[in-house]
């Protein structure tokens, strides 16, 4: 894993920590961006961590691009020796899998899909070697996920599952992106799940919807009153399958502004995770019990 630095025009440094996705690459990207934030380099205007890369936007009138690059590279030694553990939180996200709204949408855009004969869940289960959609849903909701990036549109989390690579779900994106995706759709593309924070275009396979809002520009929802966006990189998520009645009750609770996401503080250690994945996940999920 060797970082590759490049300029995005005269205002951005782009760093590819690794060409492929891994928790190690994500942790390094997060440590690097934390180090840039702490070092308070003059002229930095945006610090954006991503899955296995990161980007720093800067004002070249304040700091020359080559100097900016040198400052960031200096932090790499420090970031490499940083402890790969963090205090974070785990959030339970209820999901109505196989819901009527994503189903209606995926039927509408069927001709843009690899397999027009089935649904996104049928297709994703099959190409990942699951006998039934239920087995596939059990795998998707069976262990925690890291929020490895927030973006695309306001507040959309990219999620990376904390399982061995051979167990990781991988699906292609739609052949051509849809022009519509229901709000709060739980999607999947490459090795990432996501939650669409707003309605709009999208290319990820669609598996279900959550009743839990994660972006509220009006900040009326009580758990979004401090800030309009719920997720930040480093958060952990556990998907919890729910039935239609539970979904409807949760939507009512959201409308009455009484919905409370289940959130617990946890510590994640990459060394512990690599030593025993099942024990690490059991500990993280145990915090939600």
């Amino acid at each position: 894993m060797e970082s590759r630095y490049t300029f995005g025009g005269d205002e951005h440094v782009f760093c590819e920590v690794d060409t492929e996705m891994s928790l190690e690459a994500f942790f390094k990207s997060l440590s690097m961006t934390n180090a840039v934030r702490e070092s308070q380099i003059r002229g930095v205007t945006e610090i954006c961590p991503a899955n296995a890369s990161f980007q720093i936007k800067f004002d070249p009138d304040i700091i020359k691009p080559d100097d900016m690059l040198a400052e960031i590279k200096k932090l790499e030694v420090q970031a490499e020796s940083a402890e790969s553990s963090m205090d974070t939180r785990i959030v339970e996200v209820p999901v109505l899998y196989n819901d009527p709204w994503t189903h209606e949408t995926l039927m509408r855009f069927r001709e843009r899909h690899q397999d027009p004969s089935g649904t996104d869940l049928d297709y994703s289960a099959r190409i990942n070697g699951y006998d039934t959609v239920d087995d596939f849903i059990a795998a998707h909701s069976g262990s925690p996920w890291f929020v490895s990036m927030v973006g695309f549109v306001a507040g959309l989390p990219f999620l990376y599952q904390t399982v061995e690579r051979e167990k990781q779900i991988e699906v292609p994106k739609y052949l051509r992106p849809r022009t519509d995706t229901p709000k709060l759709t739980v999607g999947y593309g490459g090795c990432f799940s996501c939650i669409y924070s707003v309605r709009g275009a999208g290319g990820y396979q669609m598996f279900g919807v959550t009743p839990m809002p994660i972006f509220d520009p009006q900040q009326r929802i009580k758990y979004l009153q401090d800030f309009m966006i719920f997720f930040k990189p480093g958060d952990l998520v556990k998907f919890s399958p729910i039935d239609r009645d539970t979904y409807d009750a949760a939507v009512e609770a959201v409308e009455a502004n009484e919905f409370e996401p289940k959130i617990r503080d946890v510590r994640f250690s990459l060394d512990e995770f690599n030593a025993d994945i099942n024990a690490c996940n059991a500990k993280l999920e145990g915090a939600l019990k």
């Binding site: 025009g9 205002e11 994106k173």
Partner: protein
């Protein structure tokens, strides 16, 4: 206050933009032609970073409820006060009860309508700019609609001030857009990379505040590579990463897209380079079908172009001080 009688095609409140939230997917927004936006403000005696209306391809029809001084810069769309033609890039008076309307678009793409006192919508996350995808900022988080009553601040401008043509900037024909190659440029074959600059591209109809799509050049050919885990199956896919403003992605290798001020902040497509900051204003003034030539530059040339643009804005400030 101004009443919107007809909103035009896409008219929104914009200022110099919203900074510091790109890592959460909230882009900077703000006027796409920042030079024209600042000039419009200075013409009506506003601070150069006040909020204005950005009208795309077609002007709105606005009824004024109080006397004001107005200036329209950027795209060539002749403003009219109760039907009487006014000049672009020149301040003029509008009296309470009068209606500001526009002739059809004769050049450019976006007109900046500054009103003395500035558009006085609430500041959200440090800016009045509209980010439509996130329903954030501007007038109720969206472009203007008929019947809207848009608040205007207190100001005092002077009619009859104009900006000399030598201090304006617009894309030529073909439009020349300067690009610093990089990011994933090494994925492109040498032959294909040369073709990208040789070919004449055209702005596609899918050109908006998020991004500008181009057609007409030869497809990108990729060097042989192993597909990295997590990137997806198409040769143009990367492990989802950040997108710089101005970056040029080419999904499937066919149609380049330049991200602009309402950019999606990241995604899974490779980028072959980035439009230099000095030329982003010009993209904001390009209409669909505009022939476009991408011109390769070095970082030193990019910084020189940036300095030239900064100096030009400095001369605009001096001229309108």
């Amino acid at each position: 206050m101004i009443k919107v009688l007809n909103p035009g095609l896409a008219t929104s409140v914009q200022d110099m933009g919203r900074h510091g939230y790109y890592h959460l997917g909230i882009p900077q927004s703000g006027g796409m032609d920042q030079l024209a936006l600042q000039a419009a403000n200075l013409l009506v005696g506003n601070a150069s970073d006040a909020a204005v209306l950005e009208a795309t391809f077609m002007g709105p029809e606005l009824e004024f409820t109080a006397d004001a001084v107005v200036a329209v810069t950027g795209a060539a769309m002749t403003p009219k006060v109760d039907g009487a033609e006014q000049a672009n890039w020149e301040s003029f008076a509008v009296k309470a009860g009068q209606v500001l309307s526009f002739d059809y678009l004769k050049g450019g793409a976006r007109a900046y309508i500054a009103i003395s006192g500035g558009i006085d919508v609430p500041v959200v996350l440090g800016s009045r700019s509209t980010y439509t995808l996130g329903a954030l900022g501007g007038f109720q988080g969206r472009p203007l609609a008929a019947g809207d009553e848009v608040p205007v601040g207190q100001g005092k401008g002077t009619a009859g001030r104009s900006l000399d043509a030598s201090l304006r900037r617009a894309p030529g024909s073909p439009a020349e857009i300067r690009v610093l190659p990089g990011i994933y440029w090494h994925w492109v074959t040498d032959k294909s990379g040369a073709q990208f600059y040789e070919d004449t591209w055209k702005v596609a109809p899918e050109a908006d505040r998020i991004g500008y799509r181009f057609r007409g050049g030869r497809p990108i050919e990729f060097t042989e590579r192993e597909r990295p885990f997590g990137a997806g199956s198409d040769p143009s896919n990367i492990v989802d990463g950040c997108y710089p403003y101005g970056s040029i992605q080419v999904p499937g290798g066919t149609e380049p897209i330049i991200l602009h001020r309402d950019a999606v902040s990241g995604g899974g497509y490779f980028m072959l380079g980035t439009v230099i900051s000095a030329d982003m204003d010009l993209i904001g003034q390009m209409q669909p079908h505009t022939p476009t030539q991408f011109v390769k530059v070095t970082m030193d040339e990019a910084l020189q172009a940036r300095a030239d643009r900064t100096a030009l804005i400095g001369r605009i400030h001096e001229a309108l001080a």
